[in-house]
């Protein structure tokens, strides 16, 4: 075991995977010599050579398009989109190509690629460095979508993603890269080294894609969250003194519906929290499933807490970001209903 930040855990996952399998290649803008703008790939080029970890032209569609071709050849590309906000030029390649190659060729060709991208806000990145585009991927059949909330999961899930036979979108909450975040922006970020989940095995291990984790057990209300919002939800439950059960989804597609249904059936109440904008966000899917599967157990309408339906502002970041205050008010609302 070693203490790792999420950046180190992500790097370790690629390192372990590259060491185990010669077919794993890592590339993207600035990821080679420099090691990435967040340093997630630092040292990989020096260790594995520049044909297995290299810099690319600034062309997201080119990065994903070449990765698809490499996967068709038999490699396992793990590519980086520098910020999730820059993923859109590659969206065509991801949704109409990577997602469908297995299906349309009846398994003749497959697309085992991983597309890593730093996501979410909380670092004063403004409109173009803070987006959470996960719902754009969960709507696409053929993709898998993973969002870790801590270093331990980040490593186990990323290794699983690299070994997965299908394309995986791996969204890394950049607010959590260096330490857990309790949602109170005026308080300093605690380093992962003081957190249980910052303890990460140095070697190979995987966490299955499609399995949620219960981060806090409780019986009064279920809070469904993922990524940075898991930490906000935990803080809100503590602050409000509510016996909330907090589910960390980890994988949005496939989704661990059983864990959600089991919990909401038990608590009878549900709050869904995400950082992405509200309308048609992933929360809408969770709420639909909860009403479909738990309707007769519900004691209050399900409530969503999300980013506002506006672009991500720079100066008003902490008014945009769903913090423990907003989540706490939602918890109070469902408890009073």
């Amino acid at each position: 075991m070693a203490r790792m930040t999420m950046i180190e855990a992500v790097r370790s996952a690629m390192d372990v995977s590259m060491a185990r399998d010669d077919n794993v290649v890592v590339f993207g803008e600035d990821v080679g010599y420099f090691g990435g703008v967040f340093r997630c790939t630092q040292g990989l080029q020096a260790k594995y050579g520049k044909t297995r970890c290299f810099d690319t032209p600034i062309s997201e569609s080119g990065i994903v398009g070449t990765a698809i071709g490499m996967a068709a050849y038999g490699l396992k590309p793990c590519v980086e989109i520098q910020f999730a906000d820059y993923m859109y030029p590659a969206y065509d390649q991801l949704t109409q190509e990577a997602a469908r190659i297995r299906y349309r060729s009846n398994g003749d060709f497959t697309c085992p690629i991983v597309v890593r991208m730093p996501t979410g806000g909380g670092i004063f990145g403004g409109q173009t460095h803070s987006q959470s585009p996960e719902a754009l991927f969960t709507h696409v059949c053929g993709l898998k979508v993973v969002v870790p909330s801590n270093p331990y999961d980040a490593k186990g899930l990323l290794i699983a993603a690299i070994e997965d036979p299908d394309p995986v979108m791996f969204l890394e909450p950049k607010r959590l890269y260096n330490g857990p975040f309790d949602g109170h922006h005026e308080r300093p970020v605690t380093p992962w080294s003081k957190h249980d989940l910052g303890e990460v095995p140095e070697g190979h291990f995987t966490i299955p894609i499609g399995k949620a984790e219960i981060r806090r057990t409780g019986s009064a209300v279920t809070v469904v969250a993922y990524g940075t919002m898991v930490h906000v939800a935990l803080a809100a439950a503590e602050d409000a003194g509510i016996d909330a059960e907090v589910i960390d989804l980890r994988s949005l597609l496939p989704l661990d519906l059983d864990t959600i249904v089991k919990s909401v059936t038990k608590t009878g109440r549900c709050v869904v929290v995400h950082e992405a904008t509200l309308t048609s966000g992933f929360g809408a899917e969770v709420v639909s499933l909860v009403q479909e599967h738990c309707f007769y157990h519900l004691e209050a309408p399900v409530v969503r807490v999300a980013g506002w339906d506006t672009p991500y502002p720079h100066a008003q970041e902490w008014d945009y970001f769903p913090g423990p205050g907003r989540v706490g008010r939602a918890l109070a609302e469902v408890m009073e209903a």
Partner: protein
């Protein structure tokens, strides 16, 4: 201050529209045999002229002339002719089948048979094409069974793609034919990635990217060129300039006064233009590019100058946007007739043998069609199972798709 007129937008137009007389006087055709054949390790800047001229081997008398001639044996040329004739007969039958309601859609290759048939013969087993919808000749020339192609077109119970793809969007890893996408240009950059992978693994296999003239306007075309150039990928970047992108003439995507081939020059990629209706020229140029790629000399861009004689697809009506007789006026002729003439001049073919071959090929195609229709057509006979809708989205079926399959009753 300089006096100037009001600005106005320039919108290119083809020389002639329906009702007019076809005019290809602006298409500059180099004399057969006149374009030099450089060594494969030539620098792109030393052969800039080849991006503006047209490499041709067959002259008007049916003779093979010049430095690009002589790469094929009699037997290989006879096989080439047979493959093009087979593709043409296949097209005719499948076009008719679509008109008879046996499938929803078809796209023919009329006039462009030489491009894919000759190109395939310049590749080796294990190489990979990333084709568009008009390169079925890659499969025909590699002896992929016509029955399988028809099963795919009919989406019947024996369709290798289980009814999931539009007709003609074939897939065959074994025959080096990547699953076709209807989204334009996406696969151009994928081909570069495949070639990069082959280089990463120190393999000897190469890739071929395919695109039409219209789709070169897509950003993925440019992404592919920058990646191919940056990493010197062992890839052949093919542009089939058949003059028309559905109803839009090639001048819209091309712009200015350059050629499609010339786009490679800015990336330092050797670029050649070739007579796409000349089986010998296509093969010679493709072989040159394949050798470059295999010798780790990097990518080559090839523009095939040809003409789409048929409609874009069975949903298109070319008489609405171009003169009906335009294809007859196309100055580079018909690829089948040109190769036939050459083989007769060469003394290895005759009108009688050609007529006989046509009849044999037609029988072969009809027999394949009979077999395929025995497995069903789009609206009649055997179909893939509804269960096939749900299979194969992922390697392992996730719970939500399983629930939906069960809900559908399967």
């Amino acid at each position: 201050m300089v006096e100037s007129a009001r600005l106005s937008l320039h919108v290119p137009e083809p020389a002639v529209r329906p009702g007019g007389h076809p005019d290809f006087s602006n298409v500059k055709i180099a004399k057969a045999g006149s374009v030099p054949r450089p060594e494969v390790d030539v620098a792109s800047e030393d052969i800039r002229d080849l991006a503006y001229s047209i490499i041709r081997v067959l002259n008007r008398d049916g003779e093979a002339v010049g430095p690009w001639a002589g790469s094929l044996t009699d037997e290989e040329l006879l096989t080439g002719l047979r493959n093009m004739m087979k593709l043409r007969a296949f097209d005719a039958r499948m076009l008719m089948a679509q008109r008879q309601g046996k499938t929803s859609f078809y796209m023919q290759h009329l006039g462009e048979e030489a491009v894919s048939c000759a190109f395939r013969k310049a590749l080796q087993k294990g190489d990979m094409n990333f084709p568009t919808y008009r390169q079925a000749g890659l499969l025909i020339a590699d002896d992929y069974p016509m029955v399988e192609m028809m099963n795919q077109i009919y989406s019947n119970e024996s369709d290798p793609l289980r009814g999931r793809q539009l007709p003609i969007m074939y897939s065959s890893k074994e025959h080096g034919f990547f699953t076709i996408s209807g989204n334009l240009a996406t696969q151009y950059v994928q081909a570069v990635g495949w070639a990069m992978a082959s280089a990463i693994k120190n393999d000897s296999r190469i890739a071929a990217a395919w695109i039409g003239d219209g789709s070169t306007a897509e950003s993925d075309f440019h992404s592919a060129l920058v990646f191919a150039s940056t990493y010197k990928a062992p890839v052949i970047l093919n542009i089939v300039n058949n003059q028309w992108a559905i109803s839009t003439f090639q001048g819209i995507a091309r712009g200015g006064s350059g050629t499609f081939a010339a786009r490679g020059l800015g990336f330092g990629i050797p670029a050649l233009r070739v007579d796409g209706n000349d089986y010998l020229a296509v093969h010679a140029v493709a072989r040159w590019a394949a050798e470059r790629a295999r010798r780790n000399l990097g990518p080559t861009l090839i523009e095939y100058v040809t003409y789409r004689v048929g409609a874009h697809s069975t949903s298109d009506d070319p008489s609405a946007y171009r003169p009906k007789t335009e294809s007859e006026a196309w100055p580079l002729g018909d690829p089948v007739l040109r190769l036939k003439k050459h083989l007769i001049v060469r003394g290895v073919w005759s009108e009688e043998r050609h007529t006989q071959a046509e009849a044999e090929i037609l029988d072969e195609v009809i027999e394949a069609q009979r077999q395929a229709e025995g497995h069903g057509t789009l609206h009649d006979g055997g179909k893939p199972s509804v269960r096939d809708i749900f299979e194969g989205v992922y390697a392992e079926m996730p719970p939500h798709i399983r629930r939906q399959r069960q809900k559908a009753g399967y």
